[in-house]
């Protein structure tokens, strides 16, 4: 009996998956046919073709949602003891999101072409892709500059933040005097800081690194301080009964305890730092940088380059964040936030 229900459920779910894939392919194919026919909204035929894009979008979205519910069911199955299928699960869990993006991008391509949206407003995704390849030398140089600003600023600001947190932990007076300011600073818009720093330090990359450093300093300080403070009193007592020196308590108890907090701060502030670098470049840069590229190319209505730069910035952001998350998994894999779920 039990085996039959399992079998029938499996058949049901594979039917479900098959239908989802069929819908998805039909939707994508319909949209691609319309796109390749170069129809525009000028006559009856064009209007019909646009209806085709809408229908294709609806089919595609329906397919993605159905597939997504199949994926949800697959992921709910009990996990194998060994982590052998970890990569596979990761791929499967990202599949609906990737397909959703594909459907939306193809639909945008169809709609932009069909409605003949001016190039200076929304360029078709295919043009952005072409530009990404065509202007790769310039964009690579921009990415390098922005990354340099972010990395140097992050390294300096982060280190300062970390050691300030260590100091505040050692001297409670400093903590009570400094922390309220640190929380206050987090609500200050960095955009307002950028023009001032650039005016005083010039348009070279160093000024943007300073903006990144200031932006990064406070989240790292706050997170590290919180992590260093959140120690189990029992564990502190244990260290005292071992007659451990303060430096040992610090290295063996407080720092490992603070690691998850520090990683949290590092992850969020790395992204904040990248954003700060790009925004600071809006206000002045020496001929290169992703933010600079975005502002300059908007001025000359080269929106394909703008979108290409935005895509690169997004890719860099996602890569940095997930790289740090992976590092966190390796370094603090013992922590309860990784053991319980996910």
């Amino acid at each position: 009996m039990a085996t039959r229900t399992v079998a029938s459920r499996q058949i049901g779910s594979s039917l479900h998956a098959g239908l989802a894939v069929a819908l998805l392919i039909a939707g994508l194919a319909l949209m691609l046919v319309v796109i390749s026919s170069n129809a525009a909204l000028t006559d009856m035929w064009g209007a019909g073709a646009m209806l085709g894009v809408y229908a294709g979008l609806a089919l595609g979205l329906g397919g993605v949602m159905m597939l997504s519910s199949v994926v949800v069911r697959i992921l709910e199955r009990p996990r194998a003891k060994d982590d052998k299928d970890w990569l596979w699960r990761q791929v499967v869990s990202l599949l609906p999101a990737l397909l959703l993006a594909l459907v939306v991008i193809v639909a945008v391509e169809g709609l932009v072409r069909g409605f003949a949206v001016p190039f200076a407003q929304i360029p078709p995704p295919s043009a952005v892709l072409a530009k990404l390849f065509e202007a790769r030398a310039v964009l690579l140089r921009d990415t390098q500059i922005t990354l340099l600003e972010t990395l140097v600023g992050f390294a300096v600001g982060g280190t300062l933040g970390f050691f300030t947190a260590v100091f505040t932990q050692r001297f409670p007076f400093l903590e009570r005097g400094l922390m309220p300011y640190a929380t206050l600073f987090s609500s200050i818009p960095i955009v307002a800081l950028a023009p001032v720093v650039i005016k005083t330090m010039g348009v070279d990359w160093e000024s943007k690194a300073v903006v990144v450093g200031i932006t990064v300093f406070f989240p790292i300080l706050l997170n590290t301080a919180r992590g260093l403070a959140e120690v189990n009193p029992l564990q502190l007592d244990l260290m005292r009964s071992y007659a451990a020196a303060p430096s040992r308590v610090f290295a063996d108890l407080r720092i490992p305890n603070a690691l998850p907090f520090i990683f949290n701060g590092v992850k969020t502030s790395a992204v904040l730092g990248l954003i700060a670098a790009i925004v600071a470049e809006f206000f002045g840069a020496n001929g290169a940088g992703l933010g600079f590229r975005i502002v300059v190319e908007i001025g000359t209505a080269n929106l394909d380059t703008v979108w290409a730069a935005i895509n690169i910035a997004s890719l860099v952001g996602i890569t940095v964040y997930n790289g740090l998350a992976l590092l966190e998994r390796r370094v603090t894999g013992w922590h309860s936030s990784f053991r319980s779920d996910s």
Binding site: F173, G177, L184, P189, V191, K199, I275, I298
Partner: protein
Amino acid sequence: MTRRSSNAVPMLVVALAAIALYFPAMIWLNASQAQKLLSRGAELKCGDALACAFNLRSPIIPAPNQLLEDIPRLYWPLTDSTTVPYNAFFTGLETLLGLLLGALIGLGLAVLLTSSKAFERAVLPWLVASQTVPIIAIAPMLAVLLGANGVQGLLPKVLISAYIAFFPIAIGVAKGFRSPDPLQLDLMRTYNASPQQTFSSLRFPASVPFLFTAFKIAMAAALIGAIVAESSTITDAGLGRMLSENSRASDARGLWLVMIGSAVLGIVLVSLVGVVERLVTPWQRER
């Protein structure tokens, strides 16, 4: 509450230490700048480098007397379009409207995210990824796009700050909707509560603390969005406009005061969320 008042002395000491650091830094940086100008043969009215440190036309760090001199110029009268308070009012208004609009969109999205697992699978990775993406990079382009389609006045800025603000709200509130523990959800099931009832009497109240944390993050983000939007469109009011105009006019002293004004606006707006939170959730006050 008693702990907070005891922070006053340490905070004062830190502030005094910052001021004590500011004076030598200011004099050193400005004097070396003045020395450079003098050695280049520039005629400065103030005489030697040290005296000039307090009177440079574009100082590295403005001297206190210069800041005080500029405060009447840039902060008074309140209704003049070249003063900081006038422009801060418009930026604040745009930020608040943007936050409200963003909150509506974010709440709707959060409801969808919690009620459909399939929707979550397909959309959530993009929402999470968007947190790691410099969304602000899109703001100047959105400003151009909206301008080209005849959207004018406050609206484009409101839309952009709403666009920046809704992500943190959607994520934070979705987390809040999921925060009730399984026992409480089971209880609702034994009461045979409909999904709507579970939402209104369990999930929504449970999400309120998350809501306000998300609002604080979103408010800071929305303010940045509004300022960037202002500086990248042709506008007649706003701190972003002042920033870009003053930086084009090389008015370093003015920039410092606009920066201070924006900082104050940011602090006021975020603490406004805190005030509303204390009014709405009095039971949280003890913590």
